[in-house]
């Protein structure tokens, strides 16, 4: 089971490109604080940037919740991006590399999924989109060996 450690969770608005900068800086600070390595920090910050921009551009704005989590003694960071936008009609298509309904590269969603350890997306047409991602400090947690 994954527990939120609750202590330093935060909720950041995503309504402008200044907010995108703030989201990146917050995730950078949190990952550094938790002891993520530089590459893992950069991956999670980049994934956050993609998902926050999607919430802004496609979802008409939203928010990011950020919370440190632990499981079996391993620490990680969980980010939840949500918006009340139009939702995604075809998730599989949206996740595939190169698909864009706008003029992007269509790499954001699929790329973000590759950059994190856990990724889930829930999208309902006319209701909105929620994307939750988690990365752990040294690889995804594995079940402890039975003795």
């Amino acid at each position: 089971m994954t527990h939120s450690t609750g202590s330093v969770s935060a909720c950041l608005p995503i309504h402008s490109d200044l907010d995108l900068v703030r989201v990146r800086q917050h995730v950078r600070q949190m990952t550094a604080h938790l002891g993520f390595g530089l590459v893992e920090q950069t991956k999670l910050v980049t994934a956050a940037s993609e998902l926050a921009r999607n919430a802004l551009v496609h979802g008409g704005g939203g928010q990011m919740e950020c919370a440190p989590v632990t499981t079996g003694g391993i620490r990680g960071l969980r980010l939840v991006f949500s918006d009340q936008g139009p939702g995604i009609a075809d998730l599989e298509q949206a996740l595939s590399d190169g698909y864009t309904s706008g003029e992007g590269l269509g790499m954001g969603l699929g790329g973000a999924r590759r950059l994190v350890h856990e990724f889930s997306i829930d999208s309902r047409r006319g209701v909105g989109t929620t994307v939750a991602v988690t990365s752990w400090i040294s690889g995804p947690p594995r079940p402890r060996e039975a003795h």
Partner: protein, 140 residues
């Protein structure tokens, strides 16, 4: 205000002209609007003069996402149309690793370890800059 290294860059990124080369040094975290502006500035500067190369120094940049990646590709494509080369210099290893995993291959972008290295690459192709401390090579 935050420390210089993380200070978000809003507004204008200076585009320096060194002989036939445009040198752009990016630092910290760029606003999307700043990146857009940069694409425009480079386009304008590159087209109104005999520019043969563009060097973008990324050594101070901590993240490149698909938005910034697109700006870099666009600059490369645009300068190619103007018969010039774009070289991205000093990309941090963590940024490079992340870009690959993100799936951005940045076609048309050449890379160099440092700005000096980028200048040398452009110079060796007979483009630009007389190089200090090196004899000027004549070309046939």
């Amino acid at each position: 205000m935050t420390a210089a290294s993380t200070f978000p860059y809003e507004g204008h990124v200076p585009v320096l002209r060194l002989g036939g080369v445009l040198l752009v040094t990016l630092q910290g975290d760029l606003y999307d609007s700043t990146a857009e502006q940069l694409r425009q500035d480079i386009g304008e500067t590159a087209s109104d003069s005999a520019v043969t190369g563009v060097v973008i120094d990324l050594s101070g940049v901590e993240i490149v996402d698909s938005f910034m990646g697109r700006v870099l590709s666009d600059v490369a494509a645009m300068t190619r149309l103007l018969a010039a080369q774009t070289v991205v210099a000093g990309m941090r290893p963590a940024v490079a690793i992340t870009l690959v995993e993100l799936g951005l291959t940045l076609p048309g972008l050449r890379t160099a370890l440092s700005t000096e290295d980028a200048m040398r690459q452009l110079g060796d192709e007979g483009s630009v800059l007389p190089r200090a401390g090196r004899p000027h090579r004549e070309r046939p």
